[in-house]
């Protein structure tokens, strides 16, 4: 009943401010998905360091980017693997913390 009256008076569901708010939300998902260049470089260096413990990767052909879908952002990395490393982790005792890096 109230809904009906509201729809009649407010054209609820098509209220232009709802449209504005939704458009703002979407546009900001994209706007905010920018990372400062120096932060980005630091992130790549860290990624390479961690992954290289387990895999021999081709750093030069690695491609890391933020992809914005309709209303979400994802970190998408394509990292060519040359070889899976075996045996003890390089660096020996350098632990990554409990539960991490327990190689077979």
């Amino acid at each position: 009943m109230l809904e009906l009256i509201q729809r009649l008076f407010l054209r609820e569901g098509s209220a232009s401010k709802d449209v504005a708010k939704e458009r703002l939300r979407m546009v900001l998902v994209h706007d905010r998905a920018t990372v400062a260049p120096h932060v980005w470089e630091a992130l790549k260096v860290d990624l390479i360091r961690v992954i290289s413990r387990y895999l021999d990767i081709d750093e030069a052909s690695m491609d890391v980017q933020l992809q914005t879908e309709k209303d979400a952002v994802a970190l998408v990395a394509s990292i060519p693997v040359r070889r899976v490393k075996r045996g003890p982790l390089p660096g020996g005792g350098e632990a990554l913390g409990p539960g991490v890096g327990a190689a077979p």
Binding site: A15, K21, L24, R25
Partner: protein, 265 residues
Amino acid sequence: MSEVIVITSGKGGVGKTTTSANLGAALASLGKSVVLIDADIGLRNLDVVMGLENRIVYHLVDVVEGYCRLNQALIKDKRFDNLCLLPAAQTKDKTAVTPDQMRQLCKELKAEFDFVLVDSPAGIEQGFKNAIAGADTAIIVATPEVSSVRDADRIIGLLEAESMPPPRLICNRIRPAMVRRGDMLGISDILDILAIELLGVVPDDESIVVSTNRGEPAALSQGSRAGVAFRNIARRVLGEDVPFMNLDETNGFLGRLKRMFGSTR
């Protein structure tokens, strides 16, 4: 404890200069000593909004370049002894000043005044960087439009990158009837999106146009609703807990109907 506050927005024409003039006048009327800096070099406006355009001799760039002393360039307000304006240069451009020079200027003024208010130009380039250089805190002005709120979000990010404390928001030009109809973003919508502290809500008000015509800040005229809003903002800046004008709430016929039915929407 003195404070340098920059008034900025990203988007142009949303009310930075109006806010600077009115907040300055309101703070002065509350007994604080205030200096307004027009940092919009090349597009000087604050002098006209304050009604001080005929008194300008020197300007900000003259001070920075050493053509005059700082005190010679400060223009005393007509109404308050404790309110001054440092006008922008009209014939130079933004590159005539550096962030370091602005920092130094703000430091000197901070030693003499309770409040230094910096009216920032639109945009995010050099003029903006100059305006925020010497500021302790920032006030962001936004109107209830997609483009303005989007730009405000960008500015919030840039201020954060400069390690400034979280800015506070003034929503300007709210039209309560349109908000009620659902045809304008309301305060709660804007706060949802920007997630920053609200400092004030200023209605869209003809008295702003009238007072700007006269060169007398609306904050000084008793009958103006926008003036009341700016006086409230000044008191909040001074740390007082002043309730917000209730513009967002559904009043009128539907509001009464909703309350009758006990709706929580």
